[in-house]
């Protein structure tokens, strides 16, 4: 046994590099090429959503009756729509709204899901029974209809829409979190940590969270595109954000009306929508690999 902590013989015969938890995650993540490309693409989308509206010479309210239905050209990179509005600008605003709704609804969902799931998992017993029954009901209700009702009640602003989507989609997250809490709670390494002298707070921060955040992050990265699709669905039937504020669902439904004569009007918004959804899904795949220690 080591006799004295200050008097340790040095046996660093070869250099052993430390690996941080983040570098380990990144190492596993980057093995999935599609996920890495998707991550860069998502970062690109976020930058475009922030910078685009600032640098665009157009605005989504700017009609130009001298430039209707233009196909892509130097002045309008993606052409114009039936009101002569710059399609690229509309798509960038639609992107911004989709990201706000996606991340915002995701945040609401994670917050409620963690709250309900963690309480149910930790307390167990009757509280768990009641909360989980409630979750079952939320799960069984058709979420699109529920969303419609909520949007009608709350109004059609960006914020109320993301709130409605978040409020109707947390049931799966609550189940997941509860399962995580139940699993981690009885794992032997939690007991081992206690035996080593770790405080409750340390146990939660150093062992419980790193080992349960993975599935939550993965679920979230799949639910963000889910929220975006829900928002588009609402827009498609005319219950999305109030016009003239553009949304991808609205642009796609509008484009579909002119699809045959002016295909660019549907190709660009639908393409942007599809690529974004795909990117989040591939990113989620990569995250799942990253959090799975067996990926190495």
């Amino acid at each position: 046994m080591v006799e004295n902590y200050n008097d340790v013989k040095t046996i660093n015969t070869f250099e052993i590099k430390e690996r941080s938890y983040f570098s380990i995650l990144w190492g596993r993540f980057k093995k999935n090429k599609m996920a890495v490309i998707s991550l860069y693409f998502i970062i690109f989308l976020i930058v475009v959503a922030i910078v685009g509206p600032l640098v665009s010479p157009y605005h989504y309210t700017m009609m130009d009756y001298t430039a209707l239905y233009q196909t892509p050209n130097a002045k309008h990179w993606m052409g114009t729509d039936d009101g002569g509005r710059d399609l690229a600008t509309l798509i960038v605003y639609g992107l911004r709204n989709a990201l706000i709704v996606g991340f915002g609804a995701g945040l609401v969902e994670v917050f409620i899901g963690i709250l309900i799931g963690a309480i149910a998992g930790y307390l167990g017993g009757q509280v768990d029974n009641i909360l989980m029954r409630f979750v079952d009901i939320m799960f069984a209700l058709p979420s699109f209809l529920l969303n419609l009702v909520l949007v009608v009640v709350l109004g059609r602003s960006l914020f109320t829409i993301l709130l409605a989507i978040g409020l109707t989609s947390w049931a799966g997250m609550a189940r997941l979190v509860r399962g995580q809490v139940l699993t981690v709670k009885q794992l032997e390494y939690i007991e081992a940590a206690k035996a080593l002298g770790a405080s409750n707070l340390t146990i939660i921060l150093r062992y419980v969270i790193p080992n349960s955040v993975g599935p939550i992050a993965v679920a979230l990265s799949f639910n963000i595109p889910g929220a975006m699709m829900m928002e588009s669905g609402l827009s498609l039937i005319g219950l999305g954000v109030m016009p003239p504020m553009p949304s991808w669902g609205g642009l796609i439904s509008q484009g579909s009306r002119w699809m045959l004569s002016y295909p660019h009007m549907i190709l660009f918004p639908a393409g942007a929508f599809a690529l974004t959804i795909l990117a989040f899904t591939f990113f989620g795949d990569g995250l799942r690999d990253a959090f799975d220690p067996k990926t190495e």
Binding site: M1, V2, Y5, N6, V8, K9, T10, I11, N12, T13, F14, I16, K17, E18, R19, Y21, I24, L187, E188, Y189, E191, A192, A193, K194, A195, L196, G197, A198, T202, Y207, P210, N211, P293, K294, E296
Partner: protein
């Protein structure tokens, strides 16, 4: 009197199951001297792990107390408990489940040092590499993850982690039950070597007497939450007094031979509905009337030999 490193005083642990009490540990007392090794043997469900948790202070007792180096682990302040944690450690049955899955082998072994703010990053690394050498884990595994190692290697890592704080006592809860027989012997030899080279005391728990006798100075036989016999290893093997110990010894596989006749009849009763009187009476071939009525207490019938049985 040599100082007892551990003193267990009439500890009980009852779990609530519905409205009933499950008496997992039902009054255990013993003392362990420095540099001694105690083996605890008993069938699955006899309360060995629960007793281990009580000794470590991981769960509060229903009754009784545990003194480590003369200090009650249940009455100590938060700070004192943290200090006591440096003196007693535990190694669990399933090494894969007890190592931190998201940390490398190096970080796993370093973790107790970090938690107790021992050394700098650099000295900790040297300590970790020393520990790895000591338990026979090649340094190349420093950056590996627990799941990348074999069960035997994982258990060596768990032992290194338990040794990191230089505890005076380690409780091994069935540390080899999940390992191949060939690996079991290696781990047992590692324990013996540690005991020879250092002044470590340990408690070794197993359901198999053959494993326990190999590494223990003293042996306690546990049945339904109590010690039914407690003696030096030699005494217990040469002259088992309790009928349960006798049946256990008969069923010990002789190395290289075949398993001898097992005369024990019936199943171990449930600790929710324990038998009245002596917990072993329904299976005991020498049952007397008193055995159904009065619970025998553990008493010293010979030097270094205690038994809880109405026959003595």
């Amino acid at each position: 009197m040599a100082q007892n490193i551990l003193q267990v005083e009439n500890v009980k642990k009852y779990f609530k199951v519905g409205k009933k009490d499950l008496k997992a540990v039902d009054g255990v007392s013993f003392a362990l001297e420095k540099h001694k090794s105690l083996g605890i043997v008993g069938e699955s469900g006899s309360g060995k792990s629960t007793l281990a948790r009580l000794i470590l202070g991981l769960i509060p007792p229903t009754e009784g107390d545990v003194y480590l180096l003369g200090k009650s682990i249940f009455k100590a302040s938060k700070n004192e408990v943290k200090q006591l944690r440096r003196e007693i450690q535990m190694v669990f049955q399933n090494p894969y489940l007890s190592l931190f899955p998201h940390m490398t082998i190096g970080s796993n072994i370093e973790e107790p040092l970090r938690l107790h703010n021992i050394g700098t990053k650099k000295t900790r690394k040297s300590i970790v590499l020393n520990l790895m050498e000591q338990v026979g884990v090649p340094p190349q595994y420093y950056n590996s993850f627990p799941h990348e190692l074999s069960g035997g290697q994982q258990q060596r890592v768990a032992i290194a982690r338990a040794l990191a704080l230089e505890p005076q006592l380690i409780v091994f809860d069935e540390p080899v039950s999940s390992l191949d027989v060939s690996i079991q012997a290696q781990i047992l030899n590692l324990l013996l070597e540690l005991k020879r080279k250092t002044d470590l005391s340990y408690i070794f728990i197993a359901h198999d007497l053959a494993v326990v006798e190999y590494v223990s100075d003293l042996i306690a036989v546990m049945y339904l939450g109590v010690f039914v016999e407690f003696a030096s290893t030699e005494e217990l093997l040469n002259e088992p007094l309790h009928p349960y110990t006798q049946t256990l010894l008969k069923s010990v596989p002789v190395i290289g031979g075949e398993i001898r006749d097992i005369t024990i009849s019936g199943e171990i009763p449930s600790p929710i509905n324990p038998p009245s009187g002596c917990p072993f009476h329904p299976r005991c071939p020498y049952k007397k009337e008193i055995c159904e009525i009065e619970k025998p207490i553990l008493k010293e019938v010979k030097p270094e030999h205690n038994v809880a049985c109405h026959l003595y």
